[in-house]
Subunit: 429 residues, 2 copies
Amino acid sequence: MPDDPVRLGLAGLGTVGVGVIRMVEKNADLLALRAGRRIEISAVSARSRGRDRGVDITKYDWEDDPVALARREDIDIYVELMGGEDGPAKAAVEAAIAAGNHVVTANKALLAIHGQALAEQAEAKAVALRFEAAVAGGIPVVKALTEGLAGNRISRVMGVMNGTCNYILTRMENTGLGYDAVFAEAAELGYLEADPNLDVGGIDAGHKLALLSAIAFGTKVNFSGVDLEGIQQVSVTDIEQASDMGFRIKLLGVAQVTGRGLEQRMQPCLVPVKSALGQLENATNMVVIDGEDVGRIVLRGAGAGQGPTASAVLGDIIDIARGFRITTFGQPATTLAEIQPAQASTPAAFYLRLTLKDAPGILAKVTRALADAGVSIDRMRQYSHEEPAAPVLVVTHKTTRAELDHALSAIKASGVCVRDPVAIRIENV
Amino acid sequence: MPDDPVRLGLAGLGTVGVGVIRMVEKNADLLALRAGRRIEISAVSARSRGRDRGVDITKYDWEDDPVALARREDIDIYVELMGGEDGPAKAAVEAAIAAGNHVVTANKALLAIHGQALAEQAEAKAVALRFEAAVAGGIPVVKALTEGLAGNRISRVMGVMNGTCNYILTRMENTGLGYDAVFAEAAELGYLEADPNLDVGGIDAGHKLALLSAIAFGTKVNFSGVDLEGIQQVSVTDIEQASDMGFRIKLLGVAQVTGRGLEQRMQPCLVPVKSALGQLENATNMVVIDGEDVGRIVLRGAGAGQGPTASAVLGDIIDIARGFRITTFGQPATTLAEIQPAQASTPAAFYLRLTLKDAPGILAKVTRALADAGVSIDRMRQYSHEEPAAPVLVVTHKTTRAELDHALSAIKASGVCVRDPVAIRIENV
């Protein structure tokens, strides 16, 4: 075994940072055996030095400034766990690269926005910039795509990648409580980001999808090209009606290269309750990868939390300690393709929930508007109701979103709706 | 990109070998981009040179002798796809290592029997010996355990790892056909190894489990320590009765380190139909990994077939092309622990099917024998029957296999059975 340890500089001592310290300490001998070198922490940085974190950080050097930490000559790997797409996280990662230190990060926002530039910088300096912990927590999906399945052309990546959203949707289904009540519960339990819109607005999951797209298809990270929709509008009624028809509602990410460009969607979808994605409960994550030769690979595990995320950080650290050198996105950043976002998503069946005036001829207007827009109906039912408005469910045959939107506009314009129609895509998983 | 390609010597041109040739040829540019070097085939070897395989092998050098191929100076990686635990496969792998060539193989039997010696030889010569394709086909599980999850202590690995057995069991359930009829179908479809006992006897899956144990726990590969039981005795009646109680029967591998030693079992088990393992149908494989920090990771995909297995071979080749160097079992072979096989398996509930004489007092004898052996009954029922014998189902509370065997011996000795009792473990997955 080489005598020189791999030395870490750790910025950010929240849940994940503390998890990394715990794993490095308790598994020291095991890590040395596996990595071939000891893994040691040289210095740490965080907002508050004195806070009790349940681990003793006094044995490590302290830096107030993460940029100073990132530049230290006595570290080999700078571990970025502060988060945030700009500010100190970005400055420190840039400083680490400039100083020739490797970087391991769990920061999905930073890489989703600045990944291309940072990867180019890292490759120019021949240092590693790895981010397993940024996507789907403890699931080694970045490694699976960039290494294990690297012999394949990947045709599609799908996944449920925000545990908080899946918790909220599962809980709504199991309790019948509305979105607002369950959201409040999740906040109480500390499941939400400081800015909850990152979770429930689909932004966090969208960051992850954009990173997976890049490594799956060899395209430049394009977060702004992700068609984003959060779960805030999902109602218990929709969950119940979906369930009646054999579906569950999931915040589902789908990325695929189509003839129309790169399609990246992160939005609530109906998926068959019997599918692997439909069976996914609570905060668990799942990624489904379709490869040309390997077929379908499904990976499931905890998508967040101290242990799982720290496990992913350690995986990257061990790789670097072993001397593995791989480009950030699995091929040189300068060779990543610039593919335009698809202007239209792949046609799909849709679930529509309409709340209509309770009067003769109303349903005829709706079916006419759908027919005029070229949207054909697979199933339709008006279900029992107490309020003076008729709730009507429609499942369409496959249609484009444009045709559907055209139909919905016409239905709204015809004055038959008591409330705005709800439309949720049915994903063929 | 370095100008020098990575050159392969490919021995064995069956389904998988042809799959590797196809992937190397059709994905040449993609592989070069990802691996950083071109991947080329220098020479091939197989039993028959002239056979039509649907790929043109005349552009590659031919060797009649795989050992000569393995030793060639114009290859970097020897790819062993002939199979067999001894004979030419072993001789050729040893020759490759001795000549300083890396080795990638799909040969589980070879590594399950000779893995320790071969890994020591490879590490002494500083060449890679990798075997992703040997376990669970296209699922990158060796990589997940030895790399992605390497920061964790692993407490248990479970899995369904023989697609043929899972196909037979699924088909028996779906058609109600007996084992012999479905076995004949599988043979007709070409799903069985030349020696079918490798599949249905659990040997092939046992080889895979022994390899997973080594990388999960850092123990020496110990195939002879695997408690092996095939699926030949599973009847449609057991499948139907299990289903009635909410279970499916799977050929399930379980490996864990216990206070009593290394427990490795590959045997038919009842698993809850709602569990991920219970949902697994046809030839798909699944591996469930429990890690201390990461929690539970589940990996699913095709366990065999041309594309999936070739994909795994390519993953290893790309790693080597990228310059990744990892020990065969994730830590130096000389440091792998020698752990004795557990003399007793972890206690479990068992499903028992008894075929009893139809006479007064018989059931009392059975319950007495169970009670005397310390086996307590969770559920019991006698179900309707046509033949002059009473079929009785018992689900026990948790018990040791020794207590259960003691009870079954006593039941048999008491002369109440028309046929030998059937006992199948219920695995808490």
